[in-house]
Amino acid sequence: MSAPRPTRPVAAVGVGQTPFGPTREAPTYVELLQRAAAQALESAALSIDDIDAIVLALAPESLMGVPHAERWCVEYLGAAMKPVLRIQTGGATGLSAVEAGYTHVASGLYDRVLVVGADRVRESGDAQKIFNKIWDPFYERGLPLTTITMIAMSAVRYMHNFGMTEEQMARVSQKAHHNGVLNPNAHIRREVTIEEVLESRYLAWPLKLLDACPQSAGGCAVVLSSADAVDRKSQDPAWISGHSMAGESYYIGDRLELSERGYDYGDAEALAAAAEHAYAMAGITDPAAQIDAVETYASFSPVEIHNAEALGLAERGTAGPMFEEGRFDLDGEIPINPSGGVICTNPISVTAMVRFVEAVLQVQGKAGPHQVEGAKTVVATGAGGSHQFFNVSVVTSEEPN
């Protein structure tokens, strides 16, 4: 296959996030959507009348309990008499929705697109029961496959291949919590020590409670614009210099033989594939040297470790010790998840969009207390399905050539 080629540059000119937190106290689904959208429009100095098309990010809807919920949202999104698409790729949804907006604009079809979503993950107390239902009814459902066990087994494989330790995982979680304290929008905002992580109860070995993401409610939105439509007096564009997405087989049992790339289920191979394409678009040939920070979708601490390798920031099997050395801390060489990441905030439909929004804020220098000084090139990633769908956005302060 050939690498994706955009026909014209696309910028993010507005972003919005509601504060993320527990579901019970949060506004309703449609209120979260409109509040995030209003914030993104305000930061873009635009009104809903300036928007040509809307993309709604909505992951498995059984979490918040309204099937076909795009029906409910049309007028709340300002989408009456406008094109509206719903996007769903599980955890990757938020960045897949940005991708749909990006292709809307890059193709020349529309000049300004609003990408927006929300979630209320703990509307049902049965999230993992719902996630057991994402497995096929013939061969895998009925077994205790869930988003937790699937990641636990990937971590076991990676431990076996490369010697990752529970202490390394705990160090990732300690860093995430430390950064989350600095992020006013994060759901979980408290420091944890490595010892506390190690002493927290096992969910599914080697994953412990403090290695895991919470279940969050909140909304997120982005306004994307063609270069021609950017108003440089009122807007501060952040550019999508590269973007790609890759999926891999549904069947975990088919991902145990080494692939041509030399990966197996212990790795995030499709993330590596998506990064290769996105980096080629963005002219990134030496990721560790050219990328200033990363916001990566890691719902559990060990995922962040293999993601760092798939993104080319570390050699295969070497990222665990690099986290322990602090090289991915907020004051390290390449900060990973300066916002606190998914371990502090997981509103599933928009979790991957938050990664993108945080990347935009970083290159604009507007991230606040968790700003990475001088960030010009920041990578955002999403992950969904049975650790299966991955997307990568390269966000830059400079307009791509």
Partner: protein
């Protein structure tokens, strides 16, 4: 009369109770019937990549072709993945227990199932007992339902 907006959450509880009838394709149906009625474990070959798929599927998702040629698999295999589950999930067994993927001898892909016979009193100690690559036996339950959970695994000691 004046009205003040109340801020205490006003909660409406709902319960979903849905029934589905999933019809298996003929290959999956043959696998599950043979497992239930004859206690045999079948794989099927892809004529293009020549992988023996276990559990068997009617088409190879990699090669866009129909699979053909049943293969009898041995009730022995290799431990590829595991976790010691310690979290209760509604509708699933009471933890702790071991979930694993095992590649049967003669197959190129792995099957998911419970790994029984490990002392799970301590999650950490149980995990210490398990090594990827270990040989395992594939066992069949006495009362079989025509479900993938008719089979389970045990470590060879």
């Amino acid at each position: 009369m004046s009205t003040t907006t109340q801020t205490e959450p006003f909660v409406i509880d709902q319960h979903w109770d849905l029934t589905y009838s999933h019809t298996a394709d003929p290959v999956t149906a043959t696998f599950l019937r043979t497992l239930r009625d004859e206690g045999r474990l079948l794989g099927i070959r892809c004529p293009v990549c020549e992988r023996v798929l276990a559990p068997p599927r009617p088409i190879c998702d990699r090669d866009f072709c129909e699979t053909e040629g049943w293969v009898d698999l041995e009730l022995e295999g290799t431990l590829e993945l595991f976790t010691v589950m310690n979290l209760q999930i509604a509708g699933l067994p009471e933890p702790p227990y071991v979930l694993a993927y095992v590649t049967p001898v003669g197959a190129d892909t792995a099957i998911a199932g419970f790994l029984d016979g490990v002392d799970v009193t301590s999650v950490q100690a149980a995990a210490g007992e398990l090594k990827l690559g270990a040989p395992v036996s594939i066992k069949l339950r006495d009362e079989r339902q025509g479900r993938i959970s008719d089979l389970y695994f045990e470590l060879d000691r």
